[in-house]
């Protein structure tokens, strides 16, 4: 029998010598344990935070259990069913997967027992347990682990609406780690990262993705368009149905729905969102990627601090921080040029040439201001470091399974590359996905574009979570502006910086939080209006940087983010 064991049952099995331990052993041998990344992540988190086990102990437990489980990737229900969106994912687990039994020690089981007329029973009488073998240990008097058969036709009526924890066993939130065995928690990678620095990945949806077709759907209104809102793994949070995979990782993400940048120009909007404020004549602020590269990269990290995968990126983005923090561009995802030595130049030749250059450079630097020569030296050093790590950009090193999971299209490859860069220690990665400037055929274009974006992005978030990397990595999905709520004559939406949304998650971000609100038609912000400055303060604080403290350059202070704005505390964890 395919059986889902609730997190609290797994914990009890691992740390006490009671019924649950016997049940777990029995299920491993005689049944199939179905689980989700959510359950395993929750298990790990509870072991560490609530029961004070070390990361290593928790990882050992998760790894061992995972090796005996089948991890499922449930599909969303067609319509919202329960009052708590998470419950729908629990139901979806039961309905989508072929699990026939949920075992939980949750107090709400009495409610479940009456739900849909399906009987529950304690494990000693359930079909999962051998009869009449007695369970050893301490059997709780009131809250024994109970089993139930999930409803196969989850048509909730109002009286049957269940609280989220009532269906703990099949909880799917986060199931989109989707990794199966391939996505096993990689404790070593997490530890390595923890000992290093925070980092960030920005997904740039160039052209301006529609907030109505993503993070702030308005179904059934004049401006809503044809798509429905769907429940997500974050309680009470709904997003557009074009993002079904992302819906399953929403408990890792927060939404800011009240952005008003007052800017409908592509280039100017892009500056506000990536530099935190409009361009100021006579002075260039650094791009967020360059700033993070400068502030977060560990000294001695040989890898670039800022890599941009896609089309854009140039040396000017670093502004006063210098070329060390300018983006290295992987044009269309390809490796930087000239990573191999020219034909006829041997390694020995190259080393001798470098040594000669360094000697000449040192002599030249004597008695001169060092900044400019230092910049040249840094460029050479970085080029050498990239040549030494050209394996990073070798796409053939990805497993066929990973390529399949992320999708074989260009954006899937870029997301997979971004995962590798995070794992390897690149501080800031920007991944571009373009063609959202949908002045005509907005809906068809969004079906196509978001259809490509959704799965690799959600897989990326799930993989980072599985590997313990997400809590160290700030993930942001942003663009230059949103799109007009009003649908134009060509079935398009135009530029709209007045009321739109972004999503962010990971390091320092409270998963499942939603801040800001737009009116029913989506035309203006009605609650908690924010601009690029607020967002920049939030990004900085999410990775542990004091956003109120200035950069210092040539003896002059410059604001990291506009002083008149402040971080959006509601999304900070």
């Amino acid at each position: 029998m395919r059986t889902v064991l609730d997190t609290n049952v797994l914990i009890a099995a691992l740390i006490t010598r009671g019924v649950c331990a016997d049940l777990l052993q029995h299920c491993v041998i005689d049944h199939t344990i179905v689980s989700s990344d959510f359950i395993l992540n929750e298990l790990r988190e509870k072991l560490v935070q609530k029961f004070k086990y070390t990361d290593e102990e928790a990882d050992d437990a998760v790894t061992l259990l995972r090796s005996q489980m089948e991890i499922v990737d449930p599909q969303p229900l067609d319509n919202p069913v329960c009052r708590d969106a998470d419950d729908d994912w629990i139901l979806a687990t039961a309905v989508t997967d072929t699990a026939k039994c949920i075992v939980t020690g949750d107090k709400d089981l009495l409610t479940i027992q009456q739900y849909d007329g399906t009987p529950s029973s304690p494990p000693q009488t359930s079909q999962t347990t051998r009869q009449p073998e007695p369970f050893s240990g301490n059997r709780p008097a009131h809250h024994s682990p109970l089993t139930r058969t999930p409803p196969m036709n989850p048509a909730c009526n109002s009286s049957a609406h269940l609280p989220r924890r009532a269906f703990l066993g099949g909880s799917l939130t986060g199931a989109l780690g989707m990794a199966g065995f391939h996505g096993m928690v990689e404790a070593a990678a997490a530890k390595k990262l923890a000992s290093q620095q925070k980092r960030a990945v920005v997904f740039w949806l160039g052209g301006g993705v529609s907030q109505l077709e993503t993070w702030d759907p308005k179904p059934g209104t004049d401006n809503g368009g044809p798509f429905r809102a769907i429940p997500t793994s974050a309680p009470g949070v709904q997003i557009c149905e074009l993002l079904p995979h992302t819906a399953k990782v929403m408990h890792h993400l927060a939404l800011v729905r009240g952005i008003n940048t007052k800017e409908n120009n592509h280039a100017k909007g892009a500056v506000i969102m990536q530099y935190g404020r409009p361009r100021r004549p006579g002075f260039d602020f650094p791009h967020l990627g360059s700033a993070f590269s400068s502030l977060l990269s560990k000294p001695g990290n040989p890898l670039p601090g800022y890599i941009s995968i896609g089309r854009g990126g140039n040396a000017k983005e670093a502004a006063f921080l210098g070329p060390r923090h300018a983006p290295v561009v992987l044009k269309e995802g390809n490796a930087p040029n000239n990573l191999n030595l020219p034909a006829g130049v041997t390694q020995t030749d190259d080393q001798r040439r470098r040594a000669l250059r360094e000697r000449i450079s040192r002599r030249f630097s004597l008695g001169r201001r060092g900044a400019d020569t230092e910049v040249y030296n840094q460029s050479y050093d970085q080029a050498a470091a990239l040549m030494a790590r050209k394996d990073l950009f070798d796409f053939s090193r990805f497993s066929a399974k990973d390529v399949e999971r992320y999708g074989k299209h260009e954006f899937g490859r870029h997301c997979l590359m971004a995962r590798r860069l995070v794992e390897e220690g690149v501080t800031f990665t920007k991944v571009e996905h373009r063609n959202y400037d949908t002045h005509s055929e907005n809906f068809n274009f969004h079906i196509e574009q978001l259809g490509e974006f959704d799965r690799p992005f959600a897989t990326f978030v799930g993989d980072l979570a599985d590997r313990g990397l997400l809590r160290h990595t700030l993930v942001i999905v942003m663009c230059e502006f949103g799109r007009t709520p009003r649908i134009n004559a060509k079935m398009g939406r135009d530029h709209w910086g007045t009321a739109w949304s972004i999503a962010l998650g990971g390091s320092g971000i409270k998963g499942g939080a939603v801040v800001g609100k737009t009116n029913a038609n989506g035309t203006k912000v009605t609650d908690r209006e924010v601009n690029g400055g607020h967002l920049f303060h939030t990004y900085y604080q999410a990775v542990g940087i004091d956003s109120k403290e200035d950069f210092w350059h040539n003896g002059r202070p410059f604001e990291k983010a506009p002083k008149e704005a402040a971080a959006i505390r509601e999304v900070l964890g």
């Binding site: 691992l14 006490t16 709780p140």
Partner: protein, 71 residues
């Protein structure tokens, strides 16, 4: 895959053959499954002993103690 040769007492060998046949498995599959289960049980029990000792120090002795803290 690593190939291993094992020697079993005649009666145990016969029981293995009978049970494997009953479950529609080859002898090799049956023994592989049995070893896999045994490995898991030993790993699990070792881990549980380690974790349970620490739980006891926190006054967590029963399933119910866990449910009271995680529900």
């Amino acid at each position: 895959m690593t190939q291993s040769t094992i020697t079993l007492p005649d009666d145990l060998s016969q029981t293995v053959d009978d049970l494997a046949q009953k479950d529609g498995m080859s002898r090799e599959e049956f023994i592989g499954e049995a070893i896999k289960h045994e490995v898991f049980l030993r790993q699990f029990r070792t881990l549980r002993e380690r974790l349970a000792a620490k739980a006891q120090q926190q006054g967590i002795l029963t399933d119910q103690d866990v449910f009271d803290r995680v529900s």
